[in-house]
């Protein structure tokens, strides 16, 4: 087709802002779904090719033939090719909405549809339908691209897209003169709602990501902040104070019942130089499968969400029957659970133990080598401590001996947040000072149990006490330490010798209302994500169906209301003129038609024939006198009609 300029300004290419918004959507999709890293050349090139095709519309005025079937066939081929390239998503996914496969496939299909729209022959200067559809498509592409939690890039694209979107929406000006149709209005509003949703989603997402960036930056600037927040260390050291800056930052949120408030994170078996070992790097972690984790065990489940930056540690009560999680879990010989592939905040479920058994995946049966390790009294401990312990424990079953030791520490030692040891800390605490914090109680308990011949280890973790309804919140200040002892025939048991005045529930009151409110606010994005991820496919379809049904009902209601108001449009006839006049009028109308002139029903003759020659005007004046002036002299009319009929034919006036 040659380039010809038509007389009326007609745009055959998508308005630039809309194309810009669409290309932004393509770029988001390309980056967030990791297509740019794809080894598959078809996937690697797919979106750039579609984007180039879109931009090519500016280079040529040629457009697809405007046959409907042609369009359908083209789409069929294009969509089929995309499904072949991208592949259908697998069905075994549980949280289908957030799966990459769906995002990629949906995004590609929308992108292809956009290209088809761009190549169709239509006038883009006529808003709002064509532009509206294009904006809607671009919004859907962006929504598909934003449908991920793993990429912070959305946050960078969102502002660009928002600006282009606002520029595009300016194109949908409402023409002031013509009353818009109800469907057009509906499309327009649905479009606005969808774009608002897309914007809101992009906003939430970018805020989320910026939040994480800021937190990382803070951490770089102020490294000890993390320990203060967590209250945990991988090398506990018996110092003068414990958890010196009790942090209100939440570490865990647990929905569901807990079998024990003592949530263990790490266990240590070697006492060395006033501290507990092994360090994290010295531990040997072994992958453990679902069966090893007891994922299929029955029992009440509590869902744990880790908010703080625990280094991939899973925190759970010692007696948990099982752990359920998507992540790959490693375990060391002390029953410490850790995951390495941390991409987002860790979430898992704890299965509460049945009444009959209390040994779960965290309790690993004691081997001989470990037994000797956990019975070892470090040489720096004052021998009087061992002697004292053996005296207190006396004889009897291991449980009896343990409870005697625990009782001794509880009764005759006081809790104190500050303890400045002189000499060896544990010996000083047990023999002389008799007032210290929970790490001392835990360590002393371990040493004394070992002295009484019971294998024991030192454990750090959290003491969960902030229970609200079914939800338990664990904060950094709830860090705690205690002992775990091995009893032959029973297994591992938790022994917490800290007096009740020293546990976190006694130390720290409930946080203020402000703090709780702030927690609630900062939880909102996470909660929205959680809700969204739990929506099933059926409910989404149901929701979409409901929205469509409501829209249809609204349109029907509007239609009926307007129709009721406009019933008057069925006009009855006006009181007509006399028979002579009516005959003359009919003859006049025929004559007018023969001259190729048009009489509009909603205009008077004079208005319709303003440009007609004199005899027409004279007839109209004469007719008006007779018709509305009630004069009674029709003979002149026929004279005039004769003249009109003899007039030479006029071509288009």
């Amino acid at each position: 087709m040659t380039e010809t300029t038509t007389e009326k300004p007609r745009e055959d290419s998508i308005p630039l802002p809309v194309a810009g918004a669409t290309i932004t959507g393509f770029a988001m999709l390309y980056v967030t779904t990791g297509q740019f890293r794809s080894a598959n050349p078809a996937q690697f090139l797919g979106l750039p090719v579609l984007g180039t095709l879109l931009l090519l519309t500016y280079a040529t005025h040629w457009r697809l033939p405007s046959s409907r079937w042609y369009g359908y066939a083209l789409r069929g081929v294009l969509f089929g090719a995309i499904v072949l390239i991208v592949g259908m998503p697998r069905e075994d996914t549980s949280f289908w909405y957030f799966k990459d496969e769906y995002t990629i496939l949906g995004g590609y299909l929308l992108a292809a549809e956009m290209v088809v729209q761009a190549w169709r022959w239509r006038d883009w200067s006529q808003p709002p339908e064509a532009v509206g559809v294009a904006i809607l498509l671009s919004a859907l592409i962006v929504a598909a691209a934003s449908n991920t939690y793993r990429h912070w890039q959305v946050g960078y694209f969102a502002p660009v897209y928002a600006v282009l979107l606002i520029l595009s929406l300016r194109r949908i000006g409402i023409p002031a003169k013509t009353p818009r149709r109800a469907t057009g209005l509906l499309v327009f509003r649905a479009l606005l709602v969808l774009t608002a949703l897309a914007l809101a989603y992009a906003g939430v997402d970018s805020v989320n990501r910026y939040d994480r960036i800021i937190r990382r930056a803070l951490k770089l600037l102020n490294r000890p902040q993390m320990h203060a927040e967590l209250g945990l260390s991988d090398t506990p050291h018996l110092g003068s104070v414990f958890n010196p800056h009790p942090s209100l930052e939440r570490v865990l949120i647990i929905d569901g019942p807990l079998s024990d408030p003592h949530l263990r994170a790490m266990a240590f078996d070697r006492y060395q130089g006033s501290g507990w070992r092994p360090m994290m790097s010295e531990r040997t972690f072994v992958p453990i499968d679902d069966a090893g984790l007891g994922s299929s065990k029955s029992g009440a489940r509590a869902t744990v969400t880790e908010l703080g930056d625990l280094p991939g540690l899973l925190v759970a009560p010692l007696d948990s029957a099982g752990i359920v999680t998507d992540a790959e879990i490693d375990r060391d010989d002390q029953g410490v659970l850790q995951t390495h592939n941390l991409t987002q905040n860790l979430g898992y479920q704890i299965i509460a133990p049945p009444r009959t058994a209390n040994q779960g995946p965290l309790c690993i049966a004691l081997g001989d080598q470990q037994r000797s390790m956990m019975l070892m009294i470090p040489p720096e401990i004052d021998p009087r401590v061992c002697q004292f312990a053996r005296e207190i424990a006396g004889s009897g079953s291991p449980m009896t001996r343990l409870s005697r030791l625990e009782q001794e520490l509880r009764d005759h030692h006081a809790y104190s947040l500050v303890f400045v040891p002189t000499g060896e800390p544990i010996s000083d605490f047990v023999l002389n000072r008799r007032a210290a914090h929970c790490e001392y109680f835990g360590s002393a308990m371990v040493i004394m149990a070992r002295s009484a011949g019971i294998p024991a280890r030192f454990v750090t973790g959290y003491y969960a006490h902030e229970l609200e309804g079914n939800q338990t919140v664990v904060r950094g200040r709830d860090a705690h330490a205690w002992a775990e002892c091995w009893i032959d025939g029973t297994g591992w048991v938790t022994i917490d010798a800290t007096p009740s005045s020293g546990t976190p529930d006694a130390l720290y009151p409930r946080p203020s209302g402000w703090r709780l409110w702030w927690d609630w606010v900062s939880d909102l994005p996470r909660r929205i994500k959680q809700t969204l991820s739990q929506i099933g496919r059926g409910s989404v379809l149901l929701l979409a169906g409901a929205v469509v049904a409501i829209a249809l009902l609204a349109a029907l209601y509007r239609h009926l209301r307007d129709r009721r108001k406009q019933t008057i449009t069925k006009w009855r006839q006006y009181a007509g003129p006399s028979a002579d006049l009516a005959a003359a009028a009919r003859r006049f109308e025929r004559a007018v038609q023969r001259h190729g002139l048009i009489l509009l029903p909603h205009r008077t003759w004079r208005e319709s024939l303003a440009a007609a020659p004199a005899p027409f005007q004279e007839f109209i004046s004469e007719y008006d006198i007779l018709r509305f002036g009630a004069a009674d002299d029709p003979h002149r009319l026929s004279e005039l009609l004769d003249r009109i009929e003899q007039e030479p034919r006029i071509s288009n006036p």
Partner: protein
């Protein structure tokens, strides 16, 4: 064009059509010498007066609203009074009130400015709705009731109100009931380039308004008004008028359509309009020409339509394109 037949019919009343047209011609010439380049607006104002209605002149400041009203008053020999509507004006300031007379202990009624033939209500939307409402009875019934006593106003009684568009600062929009009492709303608009230059030169020495002469008497105006009432309206044309007003009552974009008072105003102004064109009967063309200024100010738009960029005169013009015309 053959006019013989019309002059035959005009003999029925006391005033001949030719005499009336000559009088109107004089009035128009008089007014045109002051208000340049606005023959349409002058014609509309005269139609309002001949139809026995009242006129509302609405436009931005400085377009000659007050000058037009004053010029018309000066062209007619009756009493002319002017009320400058201010925010502190009270109803009694317009209608008049009773005063105590200490000599004999009686009350004396002192007439307000409405006791006149032509009342210029200048800047009517500068006063509060309370005072605006004092004109309700005055305008529709040509009478004033003060202290329980009814007093008739002189005839003819013609109110010309001027106002700035209600979007402007410091104005109270007229209530719908008040607006409905104006037969016509006339907008002057800016003059064209040539006319504006004429305005400059015509005022070089003194205002042309000073040179205006009286060209019609009150009796003449009353006779014209009586003559207008005799203009024939065919039942089909009356039907057309009612269809036009009824259509505005059913349009979903309008919260308030045109009242029967509006139909009546359209009827009377169409008669006057036809007469001024030298015809003794009303054609649908007359109705269509006069409908926008007569109807547009009487309808109230729905909020959605208002902010959707619709204008009442557009909707009225749309009704003219929707309703079939009698033939």
């Amino acid at each position: 064009m053959n006019r013989d037949s019309t002059s035959d019919v005009s003999g029925i009343s006391g005033m001949s059509l030719a005499a009336l047209l000559a009088d109107v011609q004089k009035l128009e010439t008089n007014l045109s010498s002051v208000i340049r380049g606005k023959p349409q607006s002058i014609r509309l104002l005269l139609i309002a007066m001949l139809a026995g209605g009242h006129a509302l002149l609405e436009d931005v400041p400085g377009t000659g609203k007050t000058t037009l009203a004053k010029s018309l008053a000066r062209s007619i020999s009756g009493i002319f009074r002017r009320v400058q509507f201010t925010p502190d004006l009270l109803p009694a300031d317009i209608t008049g009130s009773s005063f105590y007379r200490p000599q004999d202990g009686s009350f004396e009624f002192r007439e307000g400015p409405v006791f006149t033939n032509i009342l210029l209500a200048d800047e009517i939307n500068r006063t509060s709705p309370r005072t605006q409402s004092a004109l309700l009875e005055v305008m529709s019934e040509s009478q004033v009731t003060v202290d329980g006593k009814r007093r008739d106003l002189p005839r003819p009684f013609f109110v010309i109100a001027t106002q700035n568009p209600s979007e402007y600062h410091g104005t109270y929009p007229l209530p719908e009931a008040q607006l409905d009492r104006f037969a016509l709303r006339v907008t002057l608009g800016y003059p064209d380039h040539e006319s504006e230059m004429q305005v400059l030169f015509s005022q070089r020495e003194r205002h042309p308004f000073e040179a205006l002469k009286t060209v019609a008497t009150c009796e003449q105006v009353i006779a014209m008004q009586e003559r207008v009432k005799q203009v024939r309206v065919d039942p089909a044309v009356a039907d057309y008028i009612v269809r036009l007003t009824a259509w505005t009552r059913t349009d979903p974009r309008l919260r308030l359509g045109v009242s029967p008072r509006g139909s009546l105003a359209l009827y009377r102004t169409s008669q006057a309009s036809a007469l001024l064109q030298g015809r003794d009967f009303v054609t649908p063309d007359d109705v269509r020409a006069i409908a926008p200024p007569v109807l547009a100010h009487r309808v109230v738009l729905e909020t959605k339509a208002k902010y959707g960029g619709q204008r009442s005169d557009q909707i009225v013009e749309e009704s003219l394109d929707k309703i079939p015309v009698p033939r």
